[in-house]
Symmetry: C2
Subunit: 411 residues, 2 copies
Amino acid sequence: MKAEIIAVGSELLLGQIVNTNARFLSSHLADMGINMYFHTVVGDNAARLLSAIEIAETRSNLIIFTGGLGPTKDDLTKETVAEHVNKKLVLDQDALNYIMEYFNRSGRTATENNRKQALVMEGATVLKNDHGMAPGMIFTSGERTYMLLPGPPKEMEPMFTAYAKPLLMEKLQLQDRIISKVLRFFGIGESQLETEIDDLIDAQTNPTIAPLASDGEVTLRITAKHQSSETAIRMIEETEKKILERAGEYLYGYDDTSLMEELAKLLKEKQLTIAAAESLTGGMFQKELTAVPGASSLLIGGVVCYSPQVKREILHVSQETIDTDGVVSAACAQQLAENVSKLMKTDIGISFTGVAGPEDLEGHPAGTVYVGIAIKGEPAKVELLNLAGNRTAIRKRTVKYGCYYLLKYLK
Amino acid sequence: MKAEIIAVGSELLLGQIVNTNARFLSSHLADMGINMYFHTVVGDNAARLLSAIEIAETRSNLIIFTGGLGPTKDDLTKETVAEHVNKKLVLDQDALNYIMEYFNRSGRTATENNRKQALVMEGATVLKNDHGMAPGMIFTSGERTYMLLPGPPKEMEPMFTAYAKPLLMEKLQLQDRIISKVLRFFGIGESQLETEIDDLIDAQTNPTIAPLASDGEVTLRITAKHQSSETAIRMIEETEKKILERAGEYLYGYDDTSLMEELAKLLKEKQLTIAAAESLTGGMFQKELTAVPGASSLLIGGVVCYSPQVKREILHVSQETIDTDGVVSAACAQQLAENVSKLMKTDIGISFTGVAGPEDLEGHPAGTVYVGIAIKGEPAKVELLNLAGNRTAIRKRTVKYGCYYLLKYLK
């Protein structure tokens, strides 16, 4: 089974949008163990789309199209494919009903163009679009399977997950179950982690181990194939155990989580409230914690203490500390963490003070950061960070380190 | 001139990363008036890369490669291209010196693999890599121009802008100057804006007008081609004038700016200080304002008042308001804006209170948001928003509306 994605849309070739659909589909197909050797992007042009289809047919037997299913005359994916494989487009009554209902609800009138969206390939299995007008479709012609999906990610992604993926697995009679697990690490570099598990990576066949680094984190994706899900899961567990024997202290979570989500989970579990005093991060820690739904029971509030005046007047950092140690100091971080916790009457106070750059501050280079953590009225512990990168990277990593240390202390 | 991008890297086909390089290059090439008809992605495999090159050569005369210039044995772009066009790889002494210096500075030892990165195509113009090891290169073979660029965007983007783009313009002897200007609008929907300027869009040839909507904003890119830059600029100005006659009140800036940057600029210009009281946005406004370097002179600080307790105790919202109007109310927004300004001793206080969702709050649906703005001790003005979208979208748009209204009041 060789798959290929053809994304149709001039906006991709003009650089107006990025092809996130290819990433989404590729990662799902990789999990299913389907080989993907090419992506192609082509504009809203029938002749060039046709040439892309012909090339794809010489090298792939699963061809997935995204885009070009809209109502305008630029949208020509389904017309071009239909003509090429010599199939008729027929009206899908369910899709048409759905479109008409949508227009009735919104009080607008459907045009002939909108009715065009309800046309599907004769004999195709129709994929319902729960988030838009254009249905998707999957059909076979000769030895090849063709799948047509809408372009907008918010329509395509749920359609693929809910309808296309299960059908594809059935259609391809995938006998092996492919199961993946992602281990997420923080506080260890990619090369250091790879060195620790070098022999495991070299020896890998099934399960495979794929490392990936981004934004100061490293993940390892373990993927196992087996006819029995239970066996695949056991194979993953054995590999995971070997990895964690060597680098377990840096593991913070599994699969689609983040340091902040793990922190929110733990705070909820332990029923702890938190307040933050943020200088260089300017509110980023609280913004990310409040992005987790239900965070209102955890985060009481906080202070963005960008200026020394706010550190002194609202958070009562002593004048002596500001004069002697400066605001980029362990003493300042300690008082900020302790005092924001008192002010907001929370179990935990966390503080961030330091230099985001680009300029130095108080003689400290960009990346010098102190994180203070006060728990239940105890004196705050302070961690010193020396971070690399630009202003944005330093602020992001500061927040991640804050989560990381707080998770560590609470466990 | 027909261009094509071939991105090389199995991580793209596995869905581990998204092809942002194609977007970046496409948008630059579009500005230069170079037609781009295809993007291809291929893995780290010499035979398949070769087949992609052969296909590209049948339809394009500018072939741009990204990726596969690294030190490992997986990296084979330059080797494969060299063999195909029958050119030797030769050592580039400048590139080697740069690599050796890097290793000396960091106290590590270069391996033979790192030396491999200093090999370039015989006769090629070498493109300096100011942010990494692998140099880029551009050369001609037959009637085609080939450009090899590194894969990491932080290396590729500055290399393209600083070295490749000027060379390309010279090499292609682009006689027409292509000049673009982006107009940025807020507070008007894409379809409404398009309706306003429908006839201008329909009549466009040179300059062209390209609308794009994202995250509640709409942009119009005006692009003019002419042998004389002065004339191209004048053509753009004429088109801009016509557009602004109809939709000028929604314009907030030009080119690569944002509402927040415009706000920071205006605050700096007028020497005004600001403090924020953030409930549903949880610190997002302040985080974004402090992302602008030099914001420390403007943003004194603020309070994240996620809980009613903080609204009451720190920001002195009256118990009566909380009991009678609730926290999702104009009265609450007004007191928050006025009181945070007093507390932090600033010229301006801005407040955000409302429902980010997914659940309702105090009987109000997600998207009900009040923004309060108090300027120089005057009673705060309050704006009511009814926003659509999920939690993240509502929070983002709330912050944008905050910037938009504040800009409006200050002008």
